[in-house]
């Protein structure tokens, strides 16, 4: 079976700057894969390249199907869903409507019935499930601007889920969340992936990424500098150097302990 996502040799240039160089990345079925790297390393550019928002070279396969020539909305139809670092909700629509937009495209007769006869669009069962899953039922009729940052982030994820994706790309879902919210988010993500949704997670919260991901890729200056399990990445001197801007000699990798809390979280949710 083909992996959920298979990116090979993905490169992106902005003018003379090569923002991404030959990045190979794979998200296997049912896997939670992390993508980390310092600020400006090209992580968001990678998500943009996969989802079709920047001109990129290389190959992108979604469940074996080459999608690199398709426009963003076609990729979305094929099961690619993403969130945004800056959340990017539809501010004029309620939470439920936000999900409905992602939930499906009305056919011509459906639109006709809705507009001419005023038939209400039927509530998508999936959307309702997603609202339940992320505990958002109580705010379904709110406008996004009334919500806290944490809730808005969750709505962003809910909207992505409402499109019934076959692959989820999360761009910094924990940024701006407090420790508690971030922890909560981690539990929910792990549960989602264990429910069978392959996910690529980008975040700066190393605790989160190292704690819940199955595999981690590390970007620096647009190039992959490491790939491996959380343990391997955590003890990789190049990674520490990239992250703290320091050389391995200066910092003893503090392997034991770090991330164990997250491992516990992960196990806890897996048992449920």
């Amino acid at each position: 079976m083909s992996p959920a996502l298979q990116a090979a040799g993905v490169s992106v240039s902005f003018g003379a700057v090569r923002a991404l160089q030959d990045v190979d990345l794979e998200v296997g079925e049912g896997k939670l894969v992390g993508l980390i790297g310092p600020n400006g390393a090209g992580k968001t550019t990678f998500v943009d390249a996969i989802t079709g928002f920047v001109q990129a070279s290389g190959s992108v396969r979604l469940e074996g199907r080459e999608i690199s020539a398709l426009p963003p909305h076609r990729r979305a139809h094929l099961g690619l869903a993403r969130t945004w670092q800056t959340i990017e909700l539809f501010d004029d629509l309620t939470v439920r409507e936000n999900l409905a937009v992602a939930g499906g495209r009305p056919s011509l007769p459906e639109s006709f019935a809705e507009i001419v006869f005023g038939r209400q669009p039927r509530a998508e069962r999936l959307a309702e499930e997603v609202l339940g899953l992320l505990d958002l039922e109580d705010i379904a009729e709110e406008l996004p601007s009334n919500l806290s940052q944490g809730r808005r982030k969750l709505v962003g994820i809910a909207r992505a889920l409402a499109s019934k994706p076959s692959l989820l790309l999360l761009d910094e879902p924990a940024a701006g969340l407090d420790t508690h919210e971030s922890l909560d988010l981690g539990r929910r993500l792990r549960r989602l992936v264990d429910g069978g949704l392959p996910t690529l997670l980008i975040d700066h919260d190393m605790g989160l990424v190292l704690g819940i991901c199955d595999e981690i890729y590390v970007l620096d200056f647009g190039k992959l500098i490491a790939r491996g399990s959380p343990e391997e990445v955590r003890s990789n001197p190049d990674v520490l150097a990239a992250y703290l801007g320091t050389s391995a000699a200066e910092v003893e990798p503090d392997a034991p302990g770090t991330g164990t809390a997250w491992a516990a979280v992960a196990e806890g949710t897996a048992e449920q």
Partner: protein, 243 residues
Amino acid sequence: MSEPVLSLENVSAGYGQADVIREITLEVHPGEIVTLLGPNGAGKTTTLRVVSGLLKPSRGTVRYQGHDVAHLSPTRRARAGIAHVPEGRGIFFGLTVAEHLRLGYRGETIDPEAVYTYFPALRQLRDRPAGLLSGGEQQMLAVARNLARSPDLLLLDELSLGLAPLLVERLLPVVHDYARERSCGVLLVEQHVPLALQVADRCYVLSHGDLVLHEPAARVRDNPELLVASYLGQSSTTKALAT
């Protein structure tokens, strides 16, 4: 010890209803370089924006040279001697280097010679639009232009973003010397931790919008594990699980 040039007292700020930084208290003294560290998204840039007035705090007090500056616009704060080099370098791509040095508010004149003394390389680039300079040259221009204003408080945001560390290594000593000579307080936000610690006197660490560490820079330099913990989230997550 001298009166701080900048002090934040229990400052919280954010966008919309969510606070990005919570209850931040910190001080910068004249002639002192203070670095604000922390992983991305921790609230470092937000803190600088509160100081220069681009963002209003939701709670708390910002004092500059002892005065509460809540009612001062960013323009007024800049004229009062706060220089903020933002993450995007804060220069104008359409203006040449020389034009940057002619730019000024009413009554302000910049001495181009002072700028060229800080970074002689800029002299040859005088007539080049800033948009055509290399990243390092742009950063040089940004720092030089702001030093030439003779600020009493300098806020530097991510000088190293997108640059090779080597370039920043050349910038920071200039900042350091200026701060010492002119008794200018510097608040430095930097991803490149060792660079920051090399020039800084004290160091604050932000994590998820909370101040989690405040130490002399030398001590952190000698005990990097203090940092690794807050960067890799160990301390915060264990704390969270404990409660």
